[in-house]
């Protein structure tokens, strides 16, 4: 998979992807790089960020790891500055990082200490990523993408805080699309369902989960982060999506059909 249409449609562009050390973020980063973008892998831990960048470089593309805690303004600003300094600008900002939701259960059963980190990693970090990237995105003009979830559309019995913060990110997308539209900067969200280390852990804890997810998915399988979700990000970043803004693209094999 090299790009949405098998071409390097993002040649010469520069992307930052948060939470790109594994899972959906890594899939998006590799797809953007394969489409020609120079990619900054922004993660808290070098232990997964550096290998993710090395994997992209090993495939013949351009990537660099930058340590970044997305809840810290200085880290986000420094990450964007690194992208601009190293690659000459910023075209694509993807905020994918997510906090651990904790044990599944109703909102009254959610661990009290799990609430604020989820808000910080979703809404605070979206704000920080947007604010830091805007001056550079305006110059291109570029695009901002936030990774949300089908749970952020239809709610979740077992991950209510996660669903709330993912919905909040969709609110950010809609209003930012209106706010930044006059600058030509597009803002969209992707709501994926894909095999990730987090999904694998959830399946390990609840062996029936995968079968239930697949059963509600018309395409009959869980998505692949690089092959199924990455190309969606490539498309949204590409000129082919130049008239698309303020939208949530649900990439879940058809499991959610409510929009």
């Amino acid at each position: 998979m090299t790009a949405a249409h098998g071409r390097r449609v993002l040649e010469g562009q520069v992307a930052v992807v948060t939470g790109a050390g594994q899972g959906v973020g890594a899939g998006i980063a590799s797809a953007l790089a394969a489409a020609g973008a120079s990619v900054v892998i922004a993660t808290r831990r070098a232990a997964n960020g550096e290998p993710a960048a090395e994997s992209i470089r090993a495939a013949g593309h351009e990537a660099v790891f930058v340590r970044c805690d997305v809840t810290q303004s200085e880290d986000v600003e420094a990450t964007v500055a690194e992208a601009v300094d190293r690659f000459g600008g910023l075209d694509i900002m993807v905020h994918n990082a997510v906090a651990h939701a904790g044990r599944p259960g109703g909102v009254h059963l959610t661990g009290s200490g799990r609430i604020r980190p989820q808000i910080a990693t979703a809404t605070t970090a979206s704000f920080l990523c947007a604010r830091a990237s805007l001056p550079h995105l305006r110059r291109r003009p570029g695009t901002l993408m936030l990774l949300t979830s089908p749970a952020g559309v239809e709610g979740s019995a077992n991950l209510p805080v996660y669903a709330a913060v993912k919905a909040a990110q969709r609110g950010i997308v809609k209003s930012l699309a209106r706010e930044w539209g006059p600058h030509g900067v597009r803002v969209n969200a992707i709501a994926p369902v894909a095999r990730t280390p987090a999904m694998d852990a959830a399946v390990a804890a609840n062996p029936d989960l995968e079968a239930r997810l697949v059963a509600r998915t018309p395409l009959g399988r869980l998505g692949d982060a690089a092959a199924d979700i990455g190309p969606v990000a490539v498309f949204l970043a590409s000129d082919g999506a130049r008239y698309i803004t303020g939208q949530t693209i649900v990439a879940d094999g058809g499991g959610f059909l409510g929009l």
Binding site: G105, H108, A120, A130, P160, A163, V165, E179
Partner: protein, 222 residues
């Protein structure tokens, strides 16, 4: 309805709605940072007695920072936290604390949210995030509390119910909201009547997780 109703939030729409409900209304207007997991336990009736069971909880807690227009690139971290993060956490913690009080009554929780969440509005990114977060929180509560017969809904209202007139006009223009089909926006009394109906188990026991737009037909998406 003749039940115990807790209305949470200062200013409108909370104040306007609280005056229209027909039950035993407790209206509290805490700051977002004051709402913790034990907040509902600490609410007192006029006679000083503690709340012990609620039929309806109405959330409309939107700090002034949420209601004030600001472009995102001009906001500080503390302004964002006050406008979005803190009230979102307050909504979550209010729900956590209300659960016990709603259980015995098989009660209902309703989140009143501004239309800018669903429609988007320039200069109201934080309010939009807060509104969508709370709207979908209601769906999650409906899913997880349904087996206990606790119901949860979101009622979406026109921005003018939340914002100062000059700000509401800005939001309406920026959102390309058209004139309401009914030629007017609903009154607080009409909205309160609908919310009371949502809490009436005889009329709406089979209804939960609804996102009801009550704006006179301004927004007809989906």
């Amino acid at each position: 309805m003749s039940g115990d109703i807790l209305v949470v939030g200062g200013s409108d729409p909370a104040t306007a709605l609280a005056s229209e409900f027909s039950g035993n209304v407790l209206h509290v207007a805490p700051g977002a940072e004051e709402v913790d997991d034990g907040f509902v336990d600490g609410v007192r009736r006029a006679d000083g007695t503690a709340v012990d069971g609620l039929d309806l909880v109405v959330h409309a807690l939107y700090p002034q920072q949420s209601r004030t227009p600001a472009r995102i690139d001009e906001m500080t971290e503390s302004e964002w936290a006050a406008a979005c993060d803190a009230p979102l956490e307050a909504g979550i913690r209010l729900a956590r604390g209300a659960h016990r009080h709603l259980t015995d009554r098989r009660g209902t929780i309703v989140f009143c949210v501004p239309l800018v969440g669903a429609a988007g509005a320039a200069s109201f990114v934080a309010l939009s995030a807060l509104a969508e977060g709370l709207r979908i929180l209601a769906r999650s509560l409906a899913r997880s509390w349904g087996p206990e017969q606790i119901r949860a809904h979101a009622v979406t209202l026109h921005p003018s119910m939340f914002l100062a007139p000059e700000h509401a006009a800005t939001a309406a223009a920026a959102t390309a909201l058209h004139d309401p089909a009914l030629g007017r926006l609903p009154s607080a009394a009409e909205i309160a009547a609908v919310i009371e109906t949502l809490a009436d188990s005889r009329a709406t026991a089979g209804l939960t997780g609804a996102s009801l737009v009550m704006d006179g037909g301004t927004w007809m998406a989906g």
